[in-house]
Symmetry: C2
Subunit: 377 residues, 2 copies
């Protein structure tokens, strides 16, 4: 492990050596074949992961830049509805407030299912754009892409979906579900370094693109440049990150999309079994197993402990898990299981977490390590 | 040279191996001491290069993102004047049009000095924000930062200056000149990979920051997060690029700011001497030597040749120089001399360019290689 901390977070995640090595390349001209080929490789693989026939456009910026590009290019001056059951749903709402003519937050408590009835009511009143976070890492909940897509189509509203922490790790079918704008971040399930976002846009949405979005996030301009041969970006791209993401995509292609998603499901299943064995309780307030995130698991910190103590014990093993954000601090811990990690990292993490549970005075029902091993073995 | 093309462009530029190696680091948590220390190192060095007591804020995005952050946070809803004598001046104007209540372009022909009288007239009419590109690489001209800063102060207008291709390679004194917002890009004189921009803001400008800029480019939010200990960014940063830029800054610190600028001036002097020896003519239309760029030299392609042929010959030596942009295509060529490059790269480039001049049927007055060597030796 050298001086490396194992990051078992809902991103950033450990980056395979091949991917990191790709960044050592000397500077290249970003308006040439070598760069264009890298971009084309990225697009080929991302199309599979997004489940779209469109071209995912790559922005040099974080997942938030991708989300803002979606909202700014398709929500500006329009009535927007924001489905919220966690921190990133709230962030979408905050971005919406900078662009929409009117915003309607549809809030559920963090970690509880979305309120589909209220969405329908809001759409009845004439909302034109809906945003949703597919995989809400702040609460470990997976929101129903297909169901919301269907409702949006019924009301002819554009559907913007944050797939930042699901695309590449869980099933995502933009075209089939009726997602008009989908966004992924590089440092999550794709296991590439942080700093790139990709945005895929439906034909229906392109027809409704607004005028004068922010210059740097002008998606029609990204589209025009991506159509060139060799592929280009409108402004100087973060070249090393493109080369790294290309390598990460090639690794994904070698593994195969379905196998990769199955691996993530298996990891999620293993962690849930451990949580069950510990008896600390899952955080998401749902009985629908399909609404548990498959890329991050949120569970409750034993009542007699707190975030600093609990994660501090885990950290002694050079393993970093996540705590709760905002009002969930000291209440939950979160184990990320996305990207390139697999059984060894997961077993170590579960062992360290179980140790923290013991040390903070909680008696587990049975061994979470053994329960997880049963799934992973 | 392996499979590497020597990029003698006005960015991207060759990246030292130490800088590229810094990116191989395994993913780290960007809300921790290791990241914060890297950011702090960057800021310490950039303050010197910007000539400011303020804190340059680093955005994960290209120089254009930095320019848009400047315009969006300080020009939104205001009357803006845009000084233009090249492509990047035009870009600033285009960005201004997305934010300003009114825009006044003050255009000079590309490569000719700016029109200070018209600027004064426009300011008399009540313009609140002025933009200028310090080093206009499209034309190889250096615009007068101090003079424009003085005029802006007289009229109490905010002065936004694009230092994307001058900061780190030429004299830049933001505080002394009265520059309110200055921007640099990572892949130019700093010799780091593309993908980061840094923005320094005067106290006077902070007091006039607008409400609701784009979410991703919200500078007050960058400021707030940079004030934390350890330093942070509001959204997930492009971590490998920060680590690379930190290493690039340490190299700059080792060289020393003054020595670095002197090296750039010497390189510029050498290339100008070569152009003089060739007799092809400098492109910038000015007799004021101080208005020649010190980081890129623009000269005329021999009349009987064109861009493709001319630069094609240079490329045979695995050296890439730049052509003219937009209407200057086929008219000029540009040699970048910024960042980490020095005598060897420059001599090779001048030799290859002289060969192209010969091969396209132009007889040089005397050897440009010898003239440059005289300066560099």
């Amino acid at each position: 492990m050298k001086d490396e901390t194992l990051l078992m977070l809902p991103g950033p995640v450990p980056i395979p050596e091949r991917v990191r090595a790709a960044m050592a390349r000397q500077a290249i001209n970003h308006r040439g074949a070598e760069f264009g080929d890298a971009y084309a490789d990225i697009v080929r693989v991302l199309k599979q992961l997004f489940g779209t026939s469109g071209t995912p456009l790559v922005i040099s910026g974080s997942g938030t830049a991708g989300m803002e590009a979606a909202v700014a290019n398709f929500g500006k001056g329009r009535k927007m509805a924001h489905l919220i059951n966690g921190k990133f749903g709230e962030r979408m709402y905050m971005i919406g407030q900078r662009y929409a003519s009117e915003t309607r937050p549809i809030e559920s408590e963090w970690g509880t299912p979305l309120d589909l009835e209220r969405l329908t009511a809001v759409l009845e009143e004439g909302c034109e754009v809906v945003t949703m976070v597919h995989n809400e890492t702040s609460a470990g909940i997976l929101n129903p892409g297909a169901a919301i897509g269907k409702i949006c189509r019924e009301y002819d509203a554009l559907f913007i979906m944050d797939g930042v922490t699901s695309i590449g790790g869980d099933t995502f079918r933009a075209d089939e579900w009726g997602v008009d704008v989908a966004v992924v971040g590089s440092q999550k399930c794709l296991a590439a370094p942080a700093g790139l976002a990709a945005v895929a846009v439906s034909d229906r949405a392109w027809e409704r693109a607004v005028e004068n979005p922010p210059y740097y996030l002008d998606l029609p301009s990204y589209r025009k440049n991506a159509a060139k041969d060799p592929m280009e970006t409108p402004y100087t791209p973060a070249v090393p990150l493109f080369l790294a993401l290309r390598e990460a995509c090639l690794i994904i292609e070698e593994e195969g999309t379905e196998k990769r998603i199955a691996r993530h499901h298996k990891m999620a299943h293993a962690v849930r079994k451990a949580v069950e064995a510990w008896g600390v309780g899952m955080f998401p307030r749902t009985d629908d197993l399909h609404q548990y995130s498959n890329t991050v698991t949120a569970a409750c910190i034993p009542k007699n402990s707190n975030d600093k103590e609990f994660r501090g014990i885990v950290k002694k093993f050079s393993i970093q898990i996540a705590g709760g954000q905002d009002h969930l601090k000291d209440k939950i811990f979160r184990i990320g299981h996305m990207g390139a990690v697999s059984a060894p990292e997961l077993l170590a993490t579960i062992a360290a977490t179980e140790f923290a549970i013991h040390k903070t005075g909680h008696t587990v029902n049975e061994s979470g390590v053994m329960a997880a091993a049963e799934v992973l073995g």
